[in-house]
């Protein structure tokens, strides 16, 4: 069911993407005013999620169709995901429309500020207001301090931001909430009014701040959540004629937290798990699609025996994997996960003879950042003219791979993206990948025979 819904959502997205707005009104920064801004920064894991609610009003004379978001240069490098929704209606009957977002360069940007433009679905006329819900995700933004810790210490990190929201617009009222994983806060910058309640810090409300206001903010707190970072992930999706989809994922996993110092005592680690190696992680959870079969988990030197699979034919299957050793800060592990899936869940045929493959783009590991993701879709031998539709910019190229009993080789579509995060809690599935392939009429005949094989 879910898989059927995805292409429709996809289509709507692509339609939104197609219109190109050429007219950027230079005076827009003067006519837009933010009446109320609320920012919630979630620092509970190593993936920083920021929810930003903006109430925007057009105070200018002409209608505005774009809103600018500003990011300091330090954040823009770590920005993994940005999404904007326009909320309409009252509290109970709120509906959300997703909006197109694109990076923009402005000539007179102060201090190398970077901008993203949100394109509104309906231009904002004079005096009108709109509510925008913005979610952005930052990776590698928590800086461990002290940089090196021993096995018995817990991990403390810095988070740097601005107490005031950076914006090219005048903000009438703004508040920032910072949620931290535990009560243990070493220190935090005070920008009055500042308040702390349990594991939440409140900055604001601040009234009437001019454009480009900035006030440095530093929070030093404890975060023992696994800082699991996949430095490189290569996912190979191999489509078989015989009704199978074989996925091979090669991970280069690292612990990006505070570096481990001194010796590692296995005895301490096993006998006192509460005090020893709290920031290390032993296992990871991978969410695999339903009806997954033939799962394996190994590395260059053989099978890794520590994994558990909770397979389900309807729900998401869960694979719990343990690396060969617990990962401490700075340690690395490489491994391979492979599994098979029934092809009919993912491959669809359209009326014109093309075939579509709907497949999740991201990494199946929960709460993990992928620095560089490469997806290789290996099409059956003879497939021609593939194209991939992905709702965000990726690098694409074609390769040829030789596998069992191949003569001319298989076409491989390679997609590459940097800085990928698991985004699950958003109302639409952005992480779909459509691959179309088509060919001449001769090819069509051949593909019909393929279809028979698939039905078998």
């Amino acid at each position: 069911m879910e898989a059927l819904l995805r292409p429709r959502i996809m289509l709507s997205l692509t339609i939104i993407l197609i219109p190109i707005f050429l007219f950027i009104s230079g005076a827009s920064s003067h006519q837009i005013r933010i009446n109320n801004a609320e920012r919630r920064i979630d620092l509970s894991t190593h993936i920083v999620k920021v929810f930003l609610t903006l109430k925007v009003e057009n105070t200018g004379k002409t209608s505005a169709s774009e809103i600018l978001l500003a990011f300091p240069p330090t954040q823009v490098d770590h920005l993994a995901f940005l999404e904007a929704l326009a909320a309409t209606g009252k509290k109970k009957k709120k509906t959300y429309v997703s909006l197109a977002v694109k990076p923009t360069q402005l000539p007179d940007a102060p201090n190398e500020t970077n901008y993203y433009t949100i394109v509104l679905a309906n231009p904002l006329n004079t005096g009108e207001t709109a509510t925008l819900e913005i979610l952005y995700i930052l990776t590698h933004s928590l800086e461990p301090f002290p940089v090196e810790i021993s096995q018995s210490e817990s991990q403390l990190v810095y988070y740097r931001d601005s107490a005031l929201i950076l914006s090219p617009y005048h903000i009438k009222q703004q508040t920032t909430f910072i949620k931290i994983p535990s009560n243990k806060v070493e220190s935090f910058t005070r920008v009055e009014p500042t308040d702390r309640a349990g594991n939440e810090l409140k900055y604001g409300p601040y009234e009437d701040r001019p454009p480009y206001s900035y006030s440095p903010l530093l929070v030093h707190f404890e975060n023992n959540n696994p800082f699991s970072v996949v430095e490189e992930l290569v996912r190979e999706v191999e489509i078989s004629h015989w009704g199978n989809l074989q996925i091979t994922e090669q991970y280069k996993l690292a612990h990006a937290g505070a570096r481990h110092k001194g010796i590692f005592s296995r005895v301490d680690y096993q006998s006192k798990p509460a005090f020893s190696g709290v920031s290390s992680f032993k296992h990871l959870l991978a969410r695999l699609p339903p009806r997954v079969h033939s799962v394996y988990y190994r590395d260059e030197i053989g099978n890794i025996s520590t994994s558990h699979l909770r397979a389900d034919s309807w729900k998401i299957s869960e694979l719990e994997i343990e690396p060969r050793y617990p990962l401490f800060g700075g340690w690395r592990a490489t491994f391979v996960i492979g599994y098979g899936l029934p092809l009919e869940d993912f491959l669809f045929e359209s009326s014109d003879g093309r075939r579509y493959l709907n497949f999740t783009f991201g990494c199946p590991l929960v709460e993990t950042v992928v620095d560089k993701l490469t997806i290789k879709v290996v099409l059956p031998e003879g497939a021609k003219g593939p194209s991939a539709v992905v709702p965000f910019p990726v690098e694409q190229r074609l390769e040829t791979k030789y596998s069992y009993l191949d003569v001319v080789g298989r076409t491989v579509v390679v997609l590459e993206k940097k800085n990928v995060v698991p985004v699950h809690n958003i109302p639409f599935q952005w992480n779909d990948l459509n691959i179309l392939f088509w060919g001449s009429k001769m090819e069509k005949k051949k593909r019909n025979s393929l279809l028979v094989m698939l039905v078998d």
């Binding site: 030197i301 099978n303 025996s305 050793y325 340690w331 690395r332 009993l405 003569v407």
Partner: protein, 677 residues
């Protein structure tokens, strides 16, 4: 015919019984109905299908380790072979041949191409390339894991032909079935045991078979083939020395027993000259064939052959016997004198190297213990215990003398060979545990002769009996003839019943053998020894994977140029799985270097630190099995470190580490023991 079928059935009974019985039933039905006349074809079909089944059986019985654990390389040496094979497939043959490996024996390094037997790696790489060419996208590891079982299957085929050559096809089939499941061979050829021996036993048996064939036929083609078989053996394993000594010995025995013939002359000369020239192409062997003491016997016999041939010719030319006698005396004396002089001069001038330590220890089992601790420290170099003979051979141990009896009863060139092979290899098997492997084919063949001959005799007894009975009943009812038949019958029943009882007994023994082999294979010889399995408290299987955990940590989390010091057992595994430089490894070519490590391990910490600094050591790997009760950890091996270290550095004395002559590791241990690294 029927007897033969039954004997083969027995040999593979327990493992492939249902299929075999079905088949033989099927064939017997056929034979009595439609194909009554074509006995020859029937036999051929039966033989081929049995051989095919044995071939498959030999392969699948070695897959226990893959099913129990996974498709992985076992133990220590195979990791080195795997690493070199990987290098060969990635970089090509030329690079491989000239490979200088700086990752082992730091800071000395090791010339890999010149110090290994490349046969195994080249074979695996060849299989890999062939499969790749045929568009099978296999991984080189899978090829390496399955190389040994594949060659074990090939060995069964060779065993069949060998048995056929020395006795008859029935013995060949029994030998094939025996060798397919013999634990002595399985121990070295399970899937994953990617070691030289896996290929070498095939090459050994092939060389012997081809040589015997050449001696039997006197054909130059077979001798040539045998030379190539020898070349393959030389390229695969250091055990080729056994061939190059056994064959001259065999020739010598034939000469002494007066069985010299033109066939022998052709076979030996061709095989020796060509085999020697080919073997010199292997860099590790090089000029050893003309320089080393171990190969001199072959050369001596070669010259002796020429003298023999010359004398034969002179005898033919000279009609006078007296003159010939005088000539014979002069020639033999001068030949022996020249030979001895050449040997003496060669040895004295250093041209001919003396025997190596391992060779000495074969001839004198106590030699290694007294002089070379490094050889004595390896468990597979220990003298064999009776129990392990029983474990590896089971009933073959009893069938072996019986087979020898049959061989002596029907002496021929071929049976003399197998007898000599059997006796010498049995001696070597008694000296070193690992050489049971060499003895296994001989034991299998000789036992097969025993089984085949016995069962053939018994069944022929039964068959003549039943035939006469049939004849008696068919020939009619009355008369004196019938009464005479009856009296003849009455003399037989004891013999008949006895034959049946003996046959049943033989089948019982053979089925026991099959069960024993399967049990041994699955329980004892299929453990990769790098992953340990144990039964947990609730009967579930617990897997200890700590070795690989450690190696993988080294691989991932140490700088790429880090040097790891460990006892030499783990050297190959660290380089292959950890991908880091080691100080010493399992190729124990430099005793001093190993002794240095042994000294570092057994010195006080500050002294050890100095030694390690001088070796640039970054990490030290030690294995402690105290928590899980794993017995072969470094504490257990510690005394060997002391002994080997003490062999070179007299500073280290074994008694320092002992308390009243006992080795203790607890609080009561010797102070030096507690304070050392």
């Amino acid at each position: 015919m029927v007897g033969k079928t039954e004997s083969q059935n027995g040999a593979v009974k327990a493992t492939a019984a249902p299929a075999m019985n079905l088949e033989s039933d099927l064939f017997s039905n056929f034979s009595f109905k439609s194909f009554k006349l074509k006995t020859k074809q029937q036999e051929l079909l039966l033989r081929v299908s049995i051989l095919g089944l044995v071939y498959i059986l030999a392969f699948i019985t070695r897959l226990f380790s893959v099913l129990r654990y996974e498709s992985m390389i076992h133990e220590f040496d195979p990791y080195f072979n795997y690493r070199t094979t990987l290098f060969l497939t990635e970089k090509g043959f030329y690079e491989f041949w000239n490979w200088f490996d700086s990752e082992s024996w730091y800071p000395l390094g090791r010339i890999i191409g010149g110090t290994l037997y490349p046969g195994l790696m080249v074979t695996a790489a060849f299989i890999y390339w062939t499969l790749r060419f045929l568009r099978f996208a296999v991984h080189i590891r899978e090829v390496c894991v399955l190389t040994a079982p594949f060659f074990a299957s090939n060995t069964t085929v060779v065993a069949y032909f060998f048995g056929k050559e020395i006795w008859d096809s029935g013995a060949g089939l029994v030998a094939a079935a025996f060798i397919a499941i013999c634990p002595g061979y399985i121990s070295r050829s399970v899937a994953g045991s990617y070691d030289n021996e896996g290929v070498a036993i095939f090459a050994l048996l092939l060389t012997f078979y081809l040589f015997v064939k050449a001696v039997n036929t006197g054909s130059l083609a077979w001798a040539l083939a045998s030379a190539f078989g020898y070349f393959y053996m030389v390229s695969a394993w250091g055990g080729y020395v056994f061939i190059i000594n056994l064959i001259p010995l065999y020739v010598l025995v034939l000469l002494i027993t007066g069985r010299y013939s033109m066939r022998l002359y052709v076979a030996y000369n061709c095989m020796y000259v060509l085999g020697m020239l080919l073997a010199m192409q292997i860099r590790f062997v090089g000029f050893q064939h003309v320089q080393s003491g171990e190969h001199m016997a072959a050369m001596g016999v070669f010259f002796l052959m020429q003298v023999f041939y010359f004398l034969d010719w002179v005898k033919y030319m000279l009609s006078d016997t007296k003159l010939f006698q005088a000539f014979l005396r002069i020639t033999v004396t001068s030949a022996i004198a020249v030979g001895a002089l050449a040997l003496g001069v060669g040895t004295a001038s250093g041209y001919i190297s003396p025997w190596t330590g391992r060779f000495y220890s074969l001839l004198d089992p106590t030699y290694a213990k007294d002089n070379i601790p490094i050889i004595a420290s390896v468990s597979e170099h220990q003298p064999t215990a009776w129990s392990s003979f029983m474990f590896d051979f089971h009933i073959l141990l009893f069938l072996f003398p019986a087979g020898l009896y049959f061989c002596f009863k029907k002496l021929s060139d071929a049976t003399i060979f197998i007898v000599m092979y059997g006796l010498t290899s049995m001696y070597f098997a008694g000296v070193m545990v690992r050489l049971i492997l060499v003895a296994t084919p001989a034991v299998c063949l000789i036992s097969a002769i025993a089984v085949s001959a016995t069962i053939k005799n018994l069944t022929s007894l039964l068959r003549t009996k039943s035939k006469t009975a049939v004849a008696g009943s068919s020939k009619g009812t009355g008369g004196s003839k019938a009464s005479s038949k009856a009296s003849f019958d009455q003399s037989q029943p004891f013999q008949k019943n006895g034959a049946i009882a003996l046959l049943l007994g033989a089948f019982y023994l053979l089925s026991k053998y099959a069960t024993h082999c399967t049990w041994v294979t699955s329980e004892a010889y299929s453990s990769p020894s790098i992953v340990l399995a144990a039964r947990g408290a609730h009967g579930n299987r617990v897997i200890f994977d700590d070795y690989r955990e450690a190696y993988f940590w080294l691989r991932q989390n140490t700088p790429p140029d880090a040097k790891v010091m460990s006892w030499w057992d783990y050297g190959y595994q660290i380089t292959a799985m950890g991908n880091r430089t080691v100080i010493v490894d399992n190729n124990t070519w430099n005793n001093t270097h190993i002794a240095t490590v042994g000294r570092a391990m057994s010195s006080y910490e500050d002294e050890a630190y100095e030694i390690m600094r001088s070796l640039d050591v970054d990490y030290v790997l030690v294995v402690f099995g105290g928590v899980t009760g794993y017995s072969s950890d470094d504490i257990n091996k510690f005394l060997w470190m002391v002994r080997i270290g003490g062999g070179v550095f007299p500073v280290i004395k074994e008694p320092d580490y002992l308390v009243n002559g006992d080795y203790r590791v607890d609080k009561g241990a010797a102070p030096k023991m507690l304070n050392c690294l």
